[in-house]
């Protein structure tokens, strides 16, 4: 029983405490971003809807499926790391491959927008589109670096500390996935 009186029997929080501080800090920050976006969408729905009509929803959908699949790979690899004798590398490699696919599609999407004359200054919608998806893309790139380090790390002996580090990296990657889930809904799907 903890100091809060909560039973800990059968319960275990994965990862290190530091990663959960990062996770909740990011959740609060993105919560504010999402709310500001929704507020301005409500102020000028025509401009936002017009901007959305210029997006390729299929790219947004494909990117969502890529990140969900990468999370599945990473979850399986993390689980394998906790159990001796199971191969970890294919899971992390699969997660990285899906993440790279996301970055490639994002680059394709952005370059098509720039080629057609759209930029961050084109409208309020595109200011939020490039800013929010840009901040998220930075998270994806950091996550990919973390996954690559994990891939190298997990080839060494698996100790309790190593497992906690792998779990922390995996948790960050799942955060990247869940933030995109809401961004996809807000940027590509909602209509007023």
């Amino acid at each position: 029983v903890t100091i809060s009186g909560e039973s800990t029997v059968g319960r275990r929080t994965v990862g290190e405490i530091g990663i959960w501080i990062v996770i909740f800090g990011d959740l609060v920050m993105f919560g504010l971003f999402f709310s500001v976006y929704a507020w301005y969408y409500r102020q000028d729905p025509e401009v936002f809807a017009q901007g959305q009509s210029l997006l390729d929803r299929t790219i947004g959908l494909t990117n969502t499926l890529l990140l969900l699949t990468s999370s599945l790979f990473v979850a399986i690899a993390t689980d394998a790391a906790r159990q001796s004798g199971r191969r970890v590398t294919p899971g992390f490699a699969g997660g990285i491959a899906c993440g790279l696919g996301f970055v490639a599609l994002k680059a394709l999407e952005w370059s098509a927008k720039f080629a057609s004359g759209l930029a961050i200054t084109s409208s309020d919608f595109f200011m939020y589109f490039f800013t929010l998806s840009g901040i998220h893309l930075a998270h994806v790139i950091v996550g990919l670096i973390v996954l690559t380090l994990m891939l190298r790390h997990c080839q060494r002996a698996t100790t309790t500390r190593n497992v906690a580090m792998l779990e922390s990296g995996a948790i960050f990657w799942h955060l990247v996935d869940m933030l995109w889930v809401m961004l996809f809904a807000l940027l590509y799907l909602v209509r007023l």
Binding site: E6, D177, F184, V190
Partner: protein, 88 residues
């Protein structure tokens, strides 16, 4: 500490639900002419998907209750705020 047996199956099931929910949201917006209702559905489905990612992939389902409840509280607050801002 090992995860419970059958965790691979749980992850695969969670992934399948997430994919189906994604395709459902996508189709709802493609087909619907009632944008306000569709927007509420899309935000609601996104909130459920985030909960599944947190509870299953991040393993918050098995974590300390206060941490899990903090996460679920964030989802409830943010989805309520977004639906209110977008549809009221």
């Amino acid at each position: 500490v090992s995860a419970p047996a059958g965790s691979r199956h749980r992850y695969a099931t969670a992934w399948l639900i997430l994919v189906i929910a994604t395709l459902f949201s996508f189709e709802v917006l493609q087909q619907s002419t009632m944008h306000a209702l569709a927007t509420r559905i899309v935000i609601g489905v996104a909130a459920i998907k985030i909960a599944i990612i947190g509870l299953e992939f991040m393993e918050l389902r098995m974590s300390l209750l206060w941490l899990r409840n903090l996460f679920l509280g964030w989802i409830v607050v943010i989805s309520t705020v977004l639906i209110a801002l977008l549809s009221l």
